[in-house]
């Protein structure tokens, strides 16, 4: 009766998220709620990026591009679906989640296209290709007239995009994605991904289909960035290509490196850290990236595995679950 137990667990978690969200929406001002929502979106971004950068050891530095694909696709498809399902609570939820899934699929497909040529090779080509790709995507949206070009996409109505995103949807998706990534990491596939990170030649010698696994992990990672993009799009009235600049990719890299490459709980903490620090440094905008750059260099020189390394926070109180790691990377 494992499935029944799991269903029950999911219902309890969903109800808990709903309850906490309801409570917070009563208690907090919009300002704090926005930070909490951004933190949740960051958690999705960080956990997804960590799958490819941390667990698989292939470095992407253009994930803002996939986030942009997801954001634009979700918003565009959402506008098309909205009349089909009507403006009831159920209809809105259906529209939003179907659009999110479609956005994720499109972002994942883009990831597949970008990953296939660059991940066949060993080495650091993925970093360069994703860097170029992130810029190309942004420039394309900047020139796409049907998506509002540089002014941004605001849907069809004068009020802009409908605000679907709320605490429940952000954290329900975050919980789902953390669960998926966790199960993947601790599965046989996950062990193969870690093997690729530790020693690609040895992994290949053990008959691990390295290219296929790397591309799969990259596509999943791109799809999660797409979900985060969709949630981000419907948090406000519109999205602009400027929202997905190179700095966004750097924010994501800071999230996973602060938390520790390869640690899911570390990525969660890193996501929250960046959301809060961005808010605290609001007045220091022009110094923020200098500080982030110094933080990256300092962590690499002093503690290259990040704060948590590839350990999980949960390992602190539960020793039963074996860690899926070999010697440190």
């Amino acid at each position: 009766m494992l499935w029944l137990k799991r269903c029950g667990f999911s219902v309890v978690v969903a109800a808990a998220i709903y309850g906490v969200g309801f409570g917070l929406e009563q208690l907090l001002t919009d300002y704090f709620l926005r930070i909490i929502l951004l933190a949740g979106i960051n958690v999705i971004l960080a956990v997804g990026l960590n799958l490819i950068n941390g667990t698989t050891g292939q470095f992407s530095i253009g994930h803002a591009g996939f986030m942009a694909v997801g954001a634009y696709a979700t918003a565009f498809i959402g506008v098309a679906l909205a009349p089909l399902f009507g403006d009831t609570a159920l209809g809105r939820s259906l529209t939003f989640n179907l659009a999110l899934v479609a956005g994720a699929l499109l972002a994942g497909l883009t990831g597949l296209l970008v990953g296939l040529p660059s991940l066949r090779l060993r080495g650091d080509y993925l970093a360069v290709v994703t860097l170029g790709f992130g810029e190309i995507i942004r420039i394309s949206f900047n020139n796409a007239q049907f998506l509002g070009a540089a002014t941004g996409y605001f849907g069809n109505s004068p009020a802009g995009l409908p605000v679907y995103t709320n605490f429940f949807w952000v954290y329900a998706w975050a919980a789902l994605i953390v669960l998926i990534v966790r199960n993947l990491t601790f599965s046989q596939t996950g062990r193969s991904l870690i093997a690729i990170r530790e020693d690609e030649i040895a992994a290949e010698a053990m008959a691990t289909p390295t290219t296929r696994l790397k591309v799969t992990a990259f596509a999943i990672s791109a799809a999660t960035a797409g979900i985060a993009g969709g949630l981000f799009a419907h948090m406000q009235a519109g999205i602009r290509p400027e929202d997905f600049r190179f700095e966004k990719s750097i924010d994501m890299i800071v999230m996973i490196i602060v938390g520790g490459l390869g640690s899911i709980t570390g990525a969660v903490l890193g996501g929250i850290f960046v959301a809060v620090s961005l808010e605290l440094m609001r007045d220091l905008q022009q110094y923020r990236l200098v500080l982030y750059a110094l933080l990256l260099i300092a962590i690499m020189l002093l503690r290259p595995q990040g704060l948590l390394g590839n350990r999980e926070l949960t390992a602190l109180w539960s020793r039963r679950r074996p860690r899926p790691t070999g010697e440190s990377a």
Binding site: S118, L131, I201, Q286, L296, P304
Partner: protein
């Protein structure tokens, strides 16, 4: 026909700038197997060093009075910029790359991204994010041959780049430092056992690569008129693609790759649309990774455990 010739001339002069920058990428990659992401920023700093050096030497007064900048001062500007960038490159190597030289591959890569990001944003704070007009350290003279316009600036870019590459060729093949560099790129451990001072040789590699990037920066300023603190990002990326196209680790490959990228960019801008001039580089990168990842002049080396 004359339009085609014109595009080829422009492409070759742009390409020789890319080639100068690509040499720095390929030399560092050949020895350390590291994509030096900060190289584009070293190029940017070189351009700014030239800007300030020319300003100090009084170019603004000369320009205002309509006089040309003396050629020996122009060469001095070039040398100053090369010295500044070489110092910067060696400092980056010493502070950021040497401590992580033996760490797993990802660590130096992230460090390099961090250094690049730091220099971009430090540049925006120091030099202000606004673009600046580059002083004309060489006053433009136009020659026309049957409808094809050749300026002395384009010619000078091509000749300076050619002279520097010839110098690099001599250095790599005729001096002990060059021989040590080749030994390091062949096998760093064996080179160490043969008594080669690896730190000194790597330092020399960074100094030379960065000096060439600075020369590229000044030529870029002359060619494109405007400079800004983020100019190193896209240009650096294109130069890297040039290095990959030619075969990363191969010095003649970087030159061939740079010229080809410059030509491809100009021809795209001229015959398709200027909007695609930046995109074509990435199309080339994707194609080369799919078809011939070792590049035009690169050699396939078997992966060893």
């Amino acid at each position: 026909m004359s339009q085609l010739l014109q595009q080829i001339i422009n492409g070759l002069s742009l390409g020789s700038i890319y080639a100068l920058i690509a040499l720095g990428y390929t030399m560092v990659y050949g020895i350390l197997k590291l994509i030096n992401f900060a190289h584009g920023e070293v190029f940017m700093v070189g351009a700014y060093a030239g800007y300030y050096a020319a300003g100090t030497l009084g170019i603004n007064a000369l320009e205002a009075s309509g006089q040309a900048f003396p050629i020996h001062l122009a060469l001095l500007v070039l040398l100053v910029a090369m010295a500044v960038s070489a110092t910067l490159g060696v400092t980056i190597e010493f502070l950021a790359y040497r401590p992580v030289r033996n760490a797993p591959r990802l660590t130096p890569l992230i460090t390099a991204i961090g250094v690049s990001l730091f220099l971009q944003n430090a540049g925006m704070l120091l030099f202000s994010p606004n673009p600046r007009r580059y002083p004309a350290i060489l006053r433009e003279v136009r020659f026309e041959f049957g409808g094809v316009i050749v300026t002395n600036v384009k010619l000078a870019i091509f000749l300076v780049a050619l002279a520097l590459m010839a110098g690099l060729h001599l250095l790599v093949h005729k001096t002990w430092t060059g021989r040590a560099m080749r030994a390091l790129s062949f096998n760093i451990d064996a080179a160490k056992l043969m008594g080669i001072d690896t730190n000194r040789t790597i330092r020399a590699t960074f100094a030379i690569g960065s000096a060439l990037a600075a020369a590229g920066g000044i030529l870029f300023g002359l060619d494109q008129i405007m400079i800004n603190p983020l100019m190193g990002v896209l240009t650096g990326l294109k130069a890297f693609v040039a290095a990959v196209l030619g075969g990363i680790g191969s010095i003649p490959g970087a030159v061939v790759g740079g010229l080809l990228i410059g030509l491809a960019e100009q021809l795209t801008a001229g015959y398709l649309s200027p909007d695609y001039r930046d995109a074509i580089t990435f199309v080339i990168l994707i194609l080369i990774l799919l078809v011939k990842p070792e590049g035009i002049l690169g050699v396939v080396r078997p992966e060893k455990v």
